[in-house]
């Protein structure tokens, strides 16, 4: 009765799961990065009211479990707001918001890591706040942020696995399915873990390359 052998169909299934995870990760990362940066900019400009809202909202998002947020969006929106959301929509909404909240925190501390003296020099030469942000702060903040950001994205990549509970068939869910069928957890999780590892490596590699470029001006000699 039990089909414990691995078949070629499993590869198709893994590929599908990988595709779903990857697509979801990319979509939520892009939205999250944009949204999180936007929030940080709002804070940088000290836009009244909006800034407070953003702070509270980001606090809320990053301080609660993604799983719970996911449930609230997926079950809550239809039940309380009469808005029907598909599992994929719910996943995109939740994960984007969550990523954005953490991006916001990183962006804020990166902005703060830049010496006040430089900002002063730039302001005095007549650069507007926006120009200071773009030419002085952003490039250096990026160099600072790229480390934590890579860490965050790698983490978010794994967080995408939570969405299987609302029926999105992502890579982790595929792992579960195969594990259940074959009862060979080590092979299955080694393969699934390996795939996540490869995806994460790509993210980390991108981060490291970017960081090297952004830190061209300082040579860290090591301690």
């Amino acid at each position: 009765m039990r089909y414990t052998a691995f078949t070629s169909y499993d590869i198709v299934l893994l590929a599908q799961g990988l595709g779903v995870s990857l697509a979801l990760f990319l979509a939520t990362t892009i939205i999250g990065l944009l949204l999180g940066s936007l929030w940080a900019i709002i804070r940088f400009y000290r836009v009244p009211v909006l800034m407070q809202i953003v702070t509270v909202f980001a606090e809320l998002l990053k301080n609660s479990p993604v799983l719970v947020q996911l449930f609230l969006v997926f079950f809550g929106l239809p039940a309380f707001a009469r808005l029907n959301v598909t599992p994929v929509e719910a996943a995109v909404i939740t994960l984007s918001g969550n990523t954005a909240a953490f991006v916001y925190v990183i962006a804020v501390s990166a902005i703060e890591s830049i010496g006040r003296d430089q900002i002063e020099a730039a302001r005095v030469s007549g650069l507007s706040r926006w120009q200071v942000l773009r030419h002085i702060i952003a490039p250096q903040a990026m160099a600072f942020a790229i480390g934590p950001l890579t860490g965050l994205l790698v983490n978010q990549l794994q967080v995408t696995s939570l969405i299987s509970v609302i029926g999105v068939v992502d890579l982790t869910k595929i792992g579960n399915i195969l594990n259940l069928r074959t009862l060979k957890p080590f092979i299955v999780w080694a393969i699934v873990g390996g795939l996540y590892y490869v995806m994460a490596k790509l993210v980390a590699f991108g981060g490291a390359t970017l960081e090297k470029r952004l830190r061209a001006h300082t040579a860290w000699k090591g301690l």
């Binding site: 010496g115 003296d117 430089q118 002063e120 020099a121 730039a122 302001r123 005095v124 030469s125 007549g126 650069l127 507007s128 120009q131 030419h135 002085i136 490039p139 250096q140 160099a143 952004l214 061209a216 001006h217 300082t218 040579a219």
Partner: protein
């Protein structure tokens, strides 16, 4: 014209500027002398709107630097060279200099960078134009800082101890450049410790002591035995000058 009226500035409980009045008319070169910690840098920082005043008013060409809108105008007309250079570490010398001209004055990048190179050349730095600040010697950084201010072709130049890291050769080169700018009508406010320098270049000298402006005299009068020198505080200050 730069007008400073009754300016007060305190950090916490320490009053650093205590009712400063000072007018700098167009074309004038005014030197600010005073001992370390007397508030010279702070006064400069107030003039370009980096510190919030705790009292009084500063205008540049009638633009009040306490008002954000007017401050932007004031800053377009003035440029500052900082005591500690404050270069952008992620940009090369040329990029440091060209940034504001491109962004604020909307000069095409090509042009701005060519101008920057010309400026660097005039202070003997053409060979280091593409180095990052961390790769420059102290004096080289200071020269980049000076070029960065000059690139804005400002009407008003605020200079905070710009010769501190310069050797005598370089100092005289930079002075020559500034003297030429002064002849062309650029108004300058100098903070300096080099009294001879002040004597050579400035038309007026003011003396700060513990946040108060105790002397404000034309250069000749300041150094006259019956002028500034008559004040004991200044006589004491000047007497400590190396006798050379």
């Amino acid at each position: 014209m730069i007008s400073v009226r009754g300016v007060r500035k305190a950090f916490g409980t320490a009053t650093v500027l205590d009712g400063i009045d000072l007018d700098v008319h167009s074309g004038e070169v005014v030197s600010i002398l005073g001992s370390s910690g007397s508030g010279k840098s702070t006064l400069i920082r107030c003039m370009n709107g980096l510190e919030k005043l705790d009292g009084g008013r500063i205008t540049i060409d009638d633009f009040d630097v306490s008002r954000p809108k007017e401050l932007a105008e004031a800053r377009k007309r003035s440029a500052t060279v900082f005591q500690l250079f404050n270069l952008y570490p992620h940009m090369t010398a040329v990029q440091n200099i060209a940034l504001a001209p491109v962004e604020v004055l909307k000069i095409p990048r090509k042009q701005a960078e060519a101008d920057a190179r010309a400026l660097l050349d005039s202070v003997g730095l053409s060979a280091r134009a593409d180095a990052f600040p961390a790769q420059l010697s102290g004096g080289q950084r200071q020269r980049v800082g000076i070029c960065r201010a000059l690139a804005m072709k400002p009407r008003y130049l605020l200079l905070d101890e710009i010769t501190s890291a310069l050797d005598p050769e370089m100092t005289s080169d930079v002075l020559a450049i500034l003297a030429k700018l002064a002849r062309d009508g650029t108004t300058m406010v100098f903070v300096t410790h080099e009294i001879e320098f002040a004597r050579t270049i400035s038309s007026r000298i003011v003396f700060l002591d513990k946040g108060q402006l105790v002397v404000d005299l034309p250069t000749a009068e300041f150094f006259a035995a019956d002028g500034g020198m008559a004040k004991p505080r200044i006589a004491q200050f000047l007497s400590k000058m190396r006798k050379d």
